[in-house]
């Protein structure tokens, strides 16, 4: 057991820190601290440029295998990258889905052609993806999807609707879980399709959230098409492939999110000082708890994402465990954030509905315990797969 950073890790840290200091300046200076919860639409065009800039410097796909253009950065190094990125105030990323969800799925299940076609473009920051999973009738019960795709010559023809699709309006491609087979099993009917977004058969409608902003969208497929080769794995294998993406979503990719949390907590503490709420013992206690739990959240992520450490025979489930730690934590932070504002929390900064950062944090964090697998689903997964409790 050795919890020290190696010399290589320290060098890597210096490298990232230096690059951020040299590059988050000039034309990109307006991006510092931009794009957090409830502000996903801020400076999108400049952030698209920033993705290409990160890509050209080799900072996308650092965790990918070298055979697919990555640096094979260790888990620790990926943590270090996220820490230094967050410390420098790097803007919220737009390539999260592309780099951390779709790319690992292609690496695991994609054909050489698919990898060759998409991975270099994702690495360059030139290709963005959105995720076509949930539907109005299929949220927690993802297998209940009804979007259909049928073979039509050398194409798939897709009809249906996806919902809660982040970044659909700027994405180039979408990976779509669709029903393609006619077998008996619910799961065995599904296929994982890769679909270009900019086509006549796809319509995007933003969903207005309770924050007043629209991060999520509905995506309608009306005879949308994609080449017959744009299926990952075999037709009918889509469930297995989709599950892999979900597991990745709940793993290492949550790290950059967690690291922004310290900045938010600092903002809450600063606000508490300004309003005097910090002198209220109950507020002080909540701050101390939030801070302690954030330390432990990071410790738990580091320990569990490194794989089983031999301290228990039980199946460790880092994804569900970490989601059940960070999502409720973040929601409580949102509650604390608005509580320290006192009456100021009841008024908006400006018409029509300009809310402050802390107000947006309060509203937006309601979603954290719902998306990416609700808290209720995560508990059921831990109970069944982790503890072995009977169905």
């Amino acid at each position: 057991m050795d919890l020290r950073y190696t010399a290589e890790d320290q060098e890597f840290r210096s490298e990232v820190r230096q690059w951020m200091a040299d590059n988050l300046v000039g034309e990109f200076a307006p991006l510092v601290g931009v794009g957090g919860p409830g502000s996903e639409h801020d400076h999108v065009d400049l952030r698209l440029e920033w993705e290409k800039h990160l890509g050209s410097a080799g900072w996308i796909g650092v965790g990918w295998p070298r055979s697919h253009g990555g640096r094979e950065a260790s888990l620790v190094q990926q943590v270090v990258f996220h820490e230094e990125y967050a410390a420098a105030g790097g803007p919220a990323r737009l390539d999260h889905i592309s780099e951390h969800l779709l790319a690992p799925t292609l690496i695991a299940f994609g054909s050489p052609e698919q990898c060759q076609r998409h991975l270099p473009e994702i690495r360059a920051g030139r290709e963005l993806w959105c995720q076509g999973y949930s539907e109005p009738g299929a949220g927690s019960d993802l297998a209940n999807i009804s979007t259909r795709a049928h073979r039509d010559g050398d194409q798939w023809r897709i009809n249906g609707q996806k919902i809660w699709t982040s970044l659909a309006h700027i994405a180039d491609w979408c990976f779509v879980l669709a029903r393609t087979e006619d077998t008996d099993s619910r799961h065995q009917r599904l296929s994982y399709l890769l679909v270009p977004m900019r086509q006549e058969g796809i319509t995007i409608r933003p969903i207005r959230q309770l924050t007043g902003t629209s991060e999520f969208n509905e995506v309608f497929f009306d005879d949308a098409v994609t080449d017959v080769d744009n299926v990952v794995g075999e037709p009918g294998e889509g469930w297995r492939v989709a599950m892999h993406t979900l597991e990745v979503e709940r793993g290492v990719s949550t790290l950059d999110q967690q690291l922004a949390f310290r900045g938010e907590l600092d903002a809450v503490i600063a606000a508490a000082r300004e309003t005097g709420a910090i002198d209220d013992p109950q507020i002080a206690e909540r701050i101390e708890r939030a801070w302690t739990e954030l330390v432990v959240l990071r410790q738990t992520a580091l320990r569990m994402l490194g794989g089983p450490d031999g301290r228990t025979d039980r199946a460790p489930l880092p994804g569900p465990t970490l989601k059940l730690l960070w999502a409720p934590w973040h929601r409580r932070l949102g509650e604390l954030a608005i509580d320290v504002l006192h009456l100021t929390g009841t008024v908006a900064d400006d018409a029509p509905y300009e809310l402050s950062r802390l107000q947006r944090l309060y509203l937006y964090t309601r979603a954290d315990t719902i998306y990416g697998g609700s808290d209720e689903i995560q508990r059921t997964i831990i109970a069944g797969r982790g503890l072995g409790l009977p169905r």
Binding site: T292, A383, L389
Partner: protein, 366 residues
């Protein structure tokens, strides 16, 4: 970063686990705690036969020079059985001595006294620990004598040595030999009968002051106690959760195992998450205590807060999820429940521990 246990560490853990499974099943714990509260025979096996008495102490006094990672593994296994053994005080005292010994100036009477104490501990001498000891010290030349009453000495009854930490006017740590006229030991019955306490009455008791160069050793003793209790709590929590899950799997009502009811599943899932968080906090604190002292003042109280809440919540749920039998003397649930609450009270509660950590890290003051 590598969190995995070495094969030696796994062997150590497995050996203690086997010993405890063999000698301290819960009905035996119930029997022992109704008598002396201290299973001397098992202690001798652990301390002498397995050589764990000297785990933390340097080789110069016959110790194994192991770290808090190793002692943490032992603590977890003992915690899992709510073992009526004085290993907790032992490991805190040994940890304090291990820190003080290298810095004690050579060839002085204090160094000699500390070395002698360390050698006795390596040979299996037992200790009792009393923090918040309000005693008055009188130092004449090389001799230090204590007067006062220490209400709560953990593992005090039958101990050969006492480690006392007083905080007024400054933090001072003392080693006191039990076998001397100036020391009167009054055993106290405890809520958690597996961990007894004693009241000490000191009248001109000869004491050896314990100091380390770089930080008040009293703070170190307090933090070692936090880490040790946290480690023990994690072991207890894991064992109790497994016991409870097992029960939910076999107990049937309404034609199905009650573990298939979602409400109970979800509550168990929350406990499973809490114990992983606690484990993570304790692992980091143990590592810091073994390699990088600087972080310990913050990481120790964080580990304590996290572990004690996970333990207390699991112990409470264990009684509830076992239904009526969880409320009986015969069932092991109350052993954990009482150990969890006593641990919480000894630590001063999770809220205060978080406050201590946050204060030391300057969270509110910036």
């Amino acid at each position: 970063m590598d969190y995995s246990l070495t094969s030696e560490q796994r062997d150590l853990r497995d050996a203690v686990r086997e010993l405890v499974a063999d000698r301290l099943p819960s009905d035996r714990v119930l029997a022992v705690m109704g008598e002396s509260g201290n299973d001397r025979e098992t202690w001798d096996l652990l301390a002498d036969d397995m050589g764990l008495a000297g785990l933390l102490l340097p080789e110069s006094v016959g110790g194994a020079a192991a770290t808090h990672v190793e002692s943490g593994l032992v603590l977890r296994e003992l915690g899992a059985a709510v073992a009526p053994l004085p290993f907790l005080s032992h490991t805190v005292t040994a940890g304090v001595l291990a820190r003080a010994l290298p810095d004690a100036p050579e060839h002085c009477s204090v160094a000699e006294a500390l070395t002698t104490a360390a050698e006795r501990i390596t040979a299996g001498a037992t200790t009792g620990v009393g923090l918040d000891a309000s005693v008055r010290a009188e130092t004449t030349g090389a001799e230090c004598r204590l007067d006062g009453v220490v209400e709560h000495v953990i593992d005090g009854p039958g101990a050969d040595l006492f480690l006392l930490v007083s905080c007024e006017p400054t933090t001072e740590t003392y080693l006191v030999d039990a076998d001397q006229p100036g020391v009167r030991v009054e055993p106290r019955m405890t809520l958690d009968q597996t961990r007894r306490q004693a009241r000490l009455d000191l009248t001109g008791a000869v004491a050896t002051p314990v100091r380390a160069v770089d930080q008040p050793i009293g703070g170190w003793a307090g933090d070692l106690l936090r880490i040790a209790l946290a480690a023990e709590s994690v072991g207890a929590t894991r064992a109790l959760l497994a016991l409870t899950v097992e029960y939910l799997t076999v107990r049937e009502q309404f034609g199905r195992p009650i573990g298939s009811f979602q409400a109970l599943q979800h509550r168990c899932a929350d406990l499973a998450v809490a114990v992983e968080a606690a484990e993570s906090a304790v692992v980091h604190a143990e590592w810091a205590a073994s390699h990088d002292y600087g972080d310990v003042p913050v990481l120790a109280p964080i580990a304590a807060a996290t572990a004690v809440e996970a333990f207390r919540d699991t112990a409470a749920e264990a009684i509830q999820l076992h239904g009526g039998i969880g409320f009986t003397w015969e069932h092991a649930a109350h052993l954990y429940f009482k150990r969890a609450k006593s641990t919480e009270l000894i630590l001063g509660g999770a809220t205060r521990a978080r406050r201590t950590a946050a204060r030391r890290a300057g969270v509110l003051t910036g």
